[in-house]
């Protein structure tokens, strides 16, 4: 089982992209900054604000203000200790986490090992139905917190799990605890930066393992900001700088997370200086944004990866030569220019440029546009004369799918049609039933910066999101060896060897890497957005 997360790309695909370009930061240094100012940031109504239940970007943006993670990521996206003093392991199976002293929750409570253990046990316990519970899969004892319905979906209720405590979590002293994994996992430290691994204060629980009523409305964290009042649904969430915070202090007095129903409304507000930061420029405005906002329009790398997948179980697409020829017949740069207005970047590798171990052009000749060779190879390999490309119609994918189809028509001399399914879930269920959908559109957003996150879940035989029936035992072995490697460099060597196999087999066609396109008002500066689409709240400054 792999940690996975399919992109909530419904509205994003056209908007996000372009990996390598460094933060296009238009900082102007004129003017004093105002340390008591409130900065307003656009979000959508979060679904949840409990760390183990939050997996969309709006909720995580709010939680990033309220919580300090065990590790955060440096400029190379390697993990560095944040709330943790040290995270060590000799065998990558038993991890010792020492916490920094002096951190308190916003109600004054000390952050201790128990704050983590209780929060994680709550998150992993199946009846709590936490969306991020699968993040604890690698911790020993996870299976005992789950239960299965005895008759599938039937009338009988599933029995209560055996226990509600992960046997792999053990407290050593107030500031130290150990995590035992079921198998060695070299990237565990990297994983700990994810939202699911935040601690919760004792005040969060009304009884052991039971979350207090209303805690989510006025959540108490260990981060640089504390809640100001309660969550005002569909309106706003206000946070203020927390005086008792021992870490790096923010340069602003607080943040108003303003909830928008539509990005276009937020865009109008940024233009008229009613809103300070818009995290995603709406698709409609992407072409005019550089003119509208000037140097207040900025871009930065995002972790999204868009690709076309083959149903490799279908005879038509069983041959790698056919798959390679199709890939070669697609002119990625042209589509990015004409459809995406250069707001994304062509992908010619299987892992995103944002993770350590990325190499350019690992896909080789198959991802270089070459119409003539593509046609020769396609005919020689006996590719099908009609191709379908399925996509979810609610995500703005029609334009690029049609453009891709037109290229295939021209370059391969075949018939090609784009087929829209109502929702991504509909598409997935058809694929799972192995119905004839032709090629299908997929997207990936990473959970934590590691090559493994771009390989394991998507291509290993038992990968949780391997919908294309790709299975290569050599690949599986290499990824498994990578996760068990002694250190990250050794792991990367294995992962890269695995990636090279993908270039040979081409189970999917890499198309585009994502980019954050964001904008801000004249009242703020030093606005940076990270790989998880979150504004760096410790850097933002208000122009006084």
């Amino acid at each position: 089982m792999q940690v996975r997360r399919f992109a909530a790309l419904a509205a994003l695909p056209v908007v996000t992209s372009l990996g390598l370009v460094a933060c296009g930061q238009g900082g102007d240094d004129a003017g004093e900054s105002n340390t008591s100012a409130i900065v307003s940031i656009e979000i959508a109504e979060p679904q949840h604000l409990i760390p183990t239940n939050t997996n969309e970007t709006s909720g995580s943006q709010v939680l990033a203000a309220l919580f300090t993670p065990l590790v955060s990521y440096d400029a190379e996206n390697k993990p560095v200790e944040d709330a943790a003093e040290s995270i060590t392991s000799t065998d990558n199976t038993v991890w010792t986490i020492k916490l920094k002293n002096g951190y308190t929750f916003h109600n004054g409570e000390k952050v201790t090992a128990d704050s983590y253990i209780n929060a994680w046990n709550y998150g992993a316990y199946a009846p709590n139905a936490q969306g991020n519970s699968y993040f604890f899969e690698k911790v020993a004892g996870y299976a005992d917190l789950q239960s299965t319905d005895p008759d599938g979906d039937g009338p009988q209720a599933a029995p209560a799990p055996k226990t509600n405590k992960l046997s792999g979590l053990a407290k050593v002293d107030d500031l130290t605890f150990t995590v035992t994994l079921t198998a060695p996992y070299v990237d565990f430290k990297t994983m700990l930066g994810y939202t699911a691994f935040y601690p919760l204060p004792a005040a969060a629980f009304s009884a052991e393992g039971v979350l207090a009523e209303g805690f989510e409305e006025a959540i108490i964290g260990n981060g640089p900001f504390k809640m100001n009042g309660t969550w005002q649904h569909d309106a706003k969430i206000e946070v203020a700088a927390y005086d008792g915070y021992p870490g790096a202090k923010p340069k602003i007095g607080g943040v108003e997370f303003r909830i928008y129903q539509q990005l276009t409304a937020a865009y109008a507000d940024v233009l008229s200086d009613n809103l300070d930061v818009l995290r995603t420029i709406p698709t409609e405005n992407i072409t005019s944004a550089p003119t509208d906002l000037g140097d207040r329009y900025a871009t930065s790398p995002a972790s999204t990866f868009q690709f076309l997948a083959f149903p490799t179980f279908q005879e038509d697409f069983a041959k790698p030569e056919v798959r390679k020829a199709i890939s070669m017949a697609i002119d990625r740069d042209e589509i990015i220019k004409s459809v995406f207005k250069n707001s994304q970047q062509s992908a010619r590798s299987f892992v995103s440029p944002v993770v350590a171990g990325y190499r350019e052009d690992t896909c080789g000749a198959s991802c270089q546009f070459n119409a003539a060779t593509a046609k020769t190879q396609y005919t020689a390999a006996g590719g099908p004369s009609t191709i379908k490309i399925s996509y979810n119609g609610d995500g703005g994918h029609k334009d690029w799918v049609d453009a891709t189809c037109n290229q295939l028509k021209t370059n391969l001399g075949i018939a090609c049609t784009g087929v829209a399914e109502a929702k991504f879930a509909d598409l997935l269920s058809k694929v799972e039933k192995k119905q004839d959908v032709g090629l299908f559109r997929m997207g990936w957003v990473m959970d934590y910066p590691s090559m493994e996150n771009y390989l394991g879940p998507i291509y290993t035989t038992k990968g949780s999101s391997n919908y294309y029936g790709y299975s290569n035992s050599e690949f599986d072995t290499l990824v498994a060896e990578g996760t068990k490697a002694a250190d990250e460099d050794a792991a990367i060597t294995k992962y890269q060897a695995a990636e090279d196999l993908l270039a040979n087999d081409m189970p999917v066609i890499p198309l585009r890497f994502g980019q954050n396109n964001y904008g801000y008002s004249t009242k703020v500066r030093n606005v940076e957005i990270d790989l998880f689409q979150r504004i760096n709240l410790l850097k933002v400054e208000a122009v006084s």
């Binding site: 139905a129 409304a265 937020a266």
Partner: protein, 308 residues
Amino acid sequence: MIRYIVRRLLQGVLTFFGATFVVYALMFANQDNPLQALAGERPISENVRQALTERYHLNEPFIVQYGYYMRGLFQGDFGQSLTGKDISEMLELAWPNTFRLAVMAVVFAALIGILAGVVAGIRRAGIFDHTTLIITLVLISIPIVVLAPLMQLFFGVELKWFPATAGADPSFYALMLPAIVLGAGSLATYSRLTRTSVVENLRADYVRTAKAKGLARNRVIGVHVLRNSLIPVVTYIGVDLGSLMAGAIVTEGVFNIPGVGSSLFRGITTEDGPLVVGFVSILVIIFIVANLIVDLLYAVLDPRIRYE
């Protein structure tokens, strides 16, 4: 009269149950996988699916789900949406905004629409009449999805006469622009209805009689013509008030007003049955009450119409 009101209210109760039942049934028929719809494009883990299915009775047949919902409703409990939020709280937050918006839109549309209609009717075939006809034609033909962003761009972003968005808990001033946008379509209809009605009544016998008796022109128009001309307009306004509340989806989205429209829209996209039915129930009540008031107003406007 009292008997009429009571009868109408009893009919209203039946309508209420019928409407919520139909809406619930439609939501259920349309729902293939509400939990997946909530999760977006991420696959939902089996354990979470199991726990949530049991919590919201999603594996029960539709009639049982409806039963649970109605039982809660009788205890004054609208239940929880699939995201675990109290629907009654969501209603409390959303309704005041939408109500204010819709009332402002109706008042704006009625004031200007009726005034323009009367003037156009009196000066039939004049310049004013032709101008209003053209303007109302334009207003009716521009869909609100085009009109709202355009108005926002011109008056909010470029000219800065109004705030670009209203936001939660908006001021009267901030609601002006969205109300004008929302009322624009109705305004055109009101003015055209009034104009036609006024033109017709001006030719009526009782107006000729009134004029012949030497009544002042203002009195003839203000009392005799206007009062009779308003009947079709009032009918339309009554029905329109309900539609404005339900139809504010676009306006609320563009101007970022957290109201009924936006909640309803989210409920439908996430296949959140209880949420949609909760909002629709209130809409049904508003339609019923609005129509009752319209019927009663008839009697006031035209003494010939009386109810047993």
